[in-house]
């Protein structure tokens, strides 16, 4: 196309020389034929003529110039002036052409425009109606990119403070990309390998071509509304700058910024940043890398839990061990060691009490029987016939009671004995002997010797050991209370 216009570009300088000769004929002709060939034109006719000439001669021109006084009217038409250091021309671009511009024309911008010259008759002004415009030097896309980036940056859309942290354990992962691209496969491959139970929700969107940006923006807005989504990957595989253009769209950037959940951008090449990358909370160089970032969060989380669980067990083991060693120390303290000695003492006391009890019980029964017999002898001395009835009855009753009492005593004694024996068993004096204690008896082995004052030098004593017995002679006694 441009070569076609280059042909027209050649005659471009010509219109200027044309203007000057135009004036000369007027001056040179006028003195000669001013009166004879007087043709009076109306302003409208003249202007119409001029318009015809200009519009024919300049139906397609290319101009390189700087934009000034640029204004976009409510009608959607753009009015501006194109100038260089020596001249200027009014310019207009109609709404339908303005819409196809990738960048925003602004004052000071150096551009190349294609257009046609037209004359605005009511004002006698000529202007260029621009149909195409491109920035001089930079590509249009690059310029548009720079402009949008600058604007959103100024608005604070890319501020670090806006960036949300990724969840410690991403569980439901939203993906916005095309179902046909490599990106979705790459992401699923990585997740499938390293995060097999991930829950993925894909919101398909076309990622290149007309309308792709709007689809991507809408898909982002949709997917972040799905309950439980805690991170979203937005992207596509690599391609040309034009292919990636949907991700340099203001709508996409705003959808990303407005998302309530963190967004990872993953657009194409490693090196090129898109507007989406700037707006995203995390920028991944490629779709696979975005999936790796999600997986890494999950793995970090697992490791962290693992470490904490280990430390938890270790810590509680440590504190139990500390307490255990304290118990051991206490066990060895003398106050505690005396415990077994005291126990042995109680055991002996118990044995003696049992012995005394047995004695006492036997003696009591004996005593009663003797009393009974005495009574009986006394009774026999009375006139038995006279008293026999009453006495016999009393006798029987008393006899019964005595027997009963004796039996009760006996039983009680037996029960206590059993009880004591049981306690005795549990206290196990023999066990005490087993630890090296010995019991010292008097010579007849009827009494336990508890005080040295109970025996004299020369007395025999018997010593019960855990196994066997010794018969000894006292050589010397020391004070009983020392």
């Amino acid at each position: 196309m441009s070569s076609q216009f280059d042909l027209f570009g050649a005659p471009e300088p010509e219109p200027e020389p044309e203007k000057e000769p135009e004036r000369e004929p007027v001056r040179s002709v006028s003195p000669v034929a001013r009166e004879r060939q007087r043709v009076v034109l109306s302003v409208s006719d003249l202007t119409a003529n001029i318009r015809g000439i200009l519009e024919n001669a300049y139906s397609e021109v290319w101009i390189e110039a700087e934009i000034s006084n640029c204004r976009l009217w409510n009608t959607g038409h753009l009015y501006f002036t194109l100038k260089d250091p020596g001249a200027q021309i009014k310019a207009v671009m109609f709404k339908s052409d303005v819409r196809s511009l990738k960048f925003k024309p602004e004052d000071g911008l150096h551009v190349i425009v294609r257009g046609r010259i037209s004359v605005y008759e009511p004002k006698g002004e000529y202007q260029i109606v621009c149909e195409r415009m491109e920035p001089h030097g930079l590509g249009a896309l690059q310029l548009a990119f720079d402009q949008l980036k600058r604007r959103l940056q100024a608005e604070g859309l890319f501020d670090e403070a806006r960036k949300r942290a990724l969840p410690s354990l991403p569980r439901k992962i939203g993906i916005v990309t095309s179902l046909d691209g490599a990106a979705i496969r790459d992401i699923i491959k990585v997740l499938g390998r390293r995060y097999p139970n991930a829950h993925i929700v894909i919101r398909p969107a076309r990622v290149q071509g007309d309308g792709a940006a709007a689809e991507v923006a809408r898909a982002i807005r949709d997917v972040v509304k799905v309950a439980g989504i805690d991170v979203v990957i937005v992207g596509r595989g690599g391609g040309s700058v034009e292919d990636l253009w949907a991700f340099n769209d203001e709508g996409v950037a705003r959808a990303i910024a407005a998302s309530p959940v963190p967004i990872i951008s993953a657009v194409g090449h490693e090196v090129d940043f898109t507007i989406a990358d700037f707006a995203a909370d995390v920028r991944a160089p490629t779709p696979s890398a975005a999936a790796e970032i999600v997986v890494a969060r999950k793995e970090d989380f697992c490791n962290h839990i693992e470490r904490l669980s280990h430390r938890l067990t270790g810590a509680v083991r440590g504190s139990v061990a500390r307490l255990e060693s304290r118990v051991h120390l206490l066990n060895r303290r003398p106050g505690f060691a005396g415990w077994s000695a005291r126990l042995a003492m109680r055991g002996r006391h118990c044995a003696e009490t049992t012995h005394a009890l047995r004695h006492a019980a036997g003696a009591s029964v004996h005593r009663r029987l003797r009393a009974f017999q005495t009574l009986r002898l006394q009774l026999e001395q009375y006139d038995l016939r006279r008293r026999l009835g009453g006495v016999r009855a009393r006798l029987v009753s008393v006899d019964g009671k005595i027997r009963e009492a004796a039996m009760l005593r006996h039983h009680a004694a037996g029960a206590r004995l059993q009880n004591s024996a049981a306690r005795l068993d549990s206290l196990s004096p023999l066990a005490v002997l087993g630890r090296g204690y010995a019991v010292v008896w008097d010579e007849s082995r009827t009494r336990v010797v508890r005080r040295s004052s109970e025996v004299k030098p020369g007395d025999g004593v018997r010593v019960t050991l855990s196994e066997g017995e010794l018969t000894c002679e006292v050589v010397k006694t020391d004070g009983s209370d020392n």
């Binding site: 699923i188 894909i202 989380f301 810590a315």
Partner: protein
């Protein structure tokens, strides 16, 4: 699950505090065991959450419906 555990972040934070307390020592046996029990509960919570999700791939269409996407990818992934 356990109503006393809000979410992962909360569970992890509490677990960290418990581990630190136990490691610092000087706790009564009963208190240590109590903390330990809570710690085990928290770590179990996290583990369960990790395991409980099952692999699922769904597609959200323009009308907002979610459909399983299994066959779309399984057939040409191989």
């Amino acid at each position: 699950m356990d109503p006393t555990i809000k979410d992962f972040e909360a569970a992890i934070a509490e677990l960290e505090t418990i581990v630190k307390k136990l490691e610092d020592g000087d706790l009564a046996l009963e208190k240590s065991l109590e903390l330990y029990e809570r710690g085990v509960q928290l770590s179990r919570f996290c583990h369960t959450r990790l395991e409980e999700a099952e692999k699922r791939i769904e597609i959200l269409n323009e009308r907002g419906d979610l459909r399983p996407a299994g066959q779309i990818f399984s057939k040409d992934d191989k």
